[in-house]
């Protein structure tokens, strides 16, 4: 069995990243984010990619578009790689506002009670199930080199799941995820070989040497 290479790219910058408000699924890249997406496509140009997966969020699809273009490939939309959904009542609201602070405090404080849900937001039970489903999907995919365009919190939770293995309490999972940090269009690489995952690289953001 050969080693499967799995790359993850976080979407480019949005105004919600910059001004720190809660984005909806439709939040677009800003001008800088569009440029980052172009630069990212240049960086991955020489990597062998056989399949391009993208979440159903606008900002991820905008980031994937230049990659699809340079690699001359279709993107496959896969909603399981989408960002953790917060209640729609707080979309567009600043992260420092009481309603957002309160929601996040309650959600994160309820990590040991994963069924806790606010309005139409996702709860931890939904999120963990989605992370594991995404992991399984990648393990079973027959392509040997896959690039996924996804989102910060989702990627942090995904990486923590890989680092810890499946049988860990949800609070440890959440805790490890929150010790990770990620840049817009940072590149992460995993390998999967004979049932073993490895984290080859987390958030190579290329700003390091510039």
């Amino acid at each position: 069995m050969t080693s499967k290479k799995i790359y993850f790219v976080r979407h480019g910058e949005t105004n919600s990243n910059l001004q720190r408000y809660v984005p909806s699924k439709d939040e677009p890249l800003n001008e800088h984010g569009l440029l980052q997406a172009e630069q990212c496509a240049t960086r991955v140009q020489n990597i062998d990619i056989q399949k391009l997966i993208v979440s159903d969020f606008h900002r991820a699809q905008q980031t994937a578009a230049p990659i699809a273009h340079v690699k001359n490939m279709q993107m496959e939309v896969c909603p399981s790689f989408g960002e953790v959904l917060e209640p729609s009542s707080i979309y567009g609201i600043s992260e420092s506002e009481e309603s957002v602070v309160e929601h996040r405090k309650n959600r994160n404080g309820n990590v040991e009670n994963p069924e806790w849900r606010q309005e139409d937001g996702e709860n931890f039970s939904d999120i963990f199930a989605r992370v594991l489903a995404s992991k399984k999907l990648l393990e079973e995919d027959s392509f040997e080199s896959i690039l996924v365009v996804s989102h910060s919190f989702f990627m942090m939770l995904f990486a923590a799941a890989i680092l810890l293995g499946n049988e860990v309490p949800t609070n440890a999972w959440y805790h490890v995820a929150s010790t990770l940090k990620i840049s817009n269009t940072g590149i992460t690489q995993f390998t999967f070989e004979e049932g073993v995952w490895r984290l080859v690289m987390w958030n190579d953001h290329a700003h390091f040497a510039e």
């Binding site: 910059l18 001004q19 720190r20 960086r43 991955v44 140009q45 020489n46 990597i47 890989i162 680092l163 810890l164 293995g165 860990v168 609070n171 440890a172 805790h175 490890v176 010790t179 990770l180 940090k181 990620i182 840049s183 940072g186 590149i187 690489q189 073993v196 995952w197 490895r198 984290l199 080859v200 690289m201 987390w202 958030n203 190579d204 953001h205 290329a206 390091f208 040497a209 510039e210």
Partner: protein, 218 residues
């Protein structure tokens, strides 16, 4: 309007694995005095150049020759003295195993035993460290970095030791032997002359980059 993200409270810590050595290439257990190979010197020089445009105010290295040689190039580029800090040296293998070929029959037997014994607190063999011994040094190293006045710190250290440090900082209170075993497998070793970056802000450590080897896409 671009919001200023630079926070003066935030420290950046760059953990660098030394360049390639004879031991890495010929696959033997190294001692403190194994030098860099020619390619190792080249990798260390290229790495130092990558720091040219990054602000660095403190340069630390373990006392081992390969770390000192690697730090030497960064020292030249950044015009900084190397501070030698003992805590950051490589995990120590038992004295009897040093210099043994990693793939020799004797060594393969030893490695199989070591993989089990390493995780036992009561296991000690002359000159060797187990997981708990290394963790003690990791904690010393972390405390040193937290107290260090620098805001942008480069530490030249070693594959096994950096992996132990990363596992410790990611797991914190969730650390136990089983979960560390999982993390060790998933992380593997950093590449030679690669960079791992942490931020330390308001008492919290966060992993910003693991094993940036920069040329992966070239």
């Amino acid at each position: 309007m671009r919001i200023l993200l630079n926070n003066t409270n935030m420290k950046r810590i760059y953990l660098v694995r030394h360049g390639e050595t004879e031991g890495n290439v010929k696959r033997f257990f190294q001692f403190h005095d194994t030098p860099l190979t020619e390619l190792g010197h080249k990798g260390a020089r290229a790495l130092a150049e990558r720091f040219a445009h990054i602000e660095v105010d403190t340069l630390i290295a373990s006392s081992f020759l390969r770390a000192q040689q690697t730090a030497g190039y960064i020292s030249e580029v950044k015009k900084l003295q190397v501070t030698t800090v003992e805590s950051f040296h490589e995990s120590m293998r038992p004295t009897a195993q040093r210099g043994l070929g990693l793939d020799s029959e004797e060594c393969l037997r030893f490695r199989a035993e070591y993989r089990v014994n390493y995780w036992k607190e009561e296991w000690h063999e002359e000159g060797g460290e187990n997981f708990f011994d290394v963790t003690k040094r990791v904690i010393e190293g972390v405390q040193y970095l937290e107290k260090c006045k620098g805001e942008s710190i480069v530490v030249v250290s070693h594959g096994d030791f950096i992996r132990s440090l990363v596992a410790h900082l990611l797991l914190q209170k969730n650390s136990d032997v089983e979960v560390n075993k999982s993390l060790f497998t998933v992380l593997g070793l950093m590449s030679n002359a690669a960079v791992t970056e942490f931020t330390f802000e308001d008492g919290q450590w966060r992993l910003f980059t693991w094993n940036d080897h920069s040329h992966f896409a070239e």
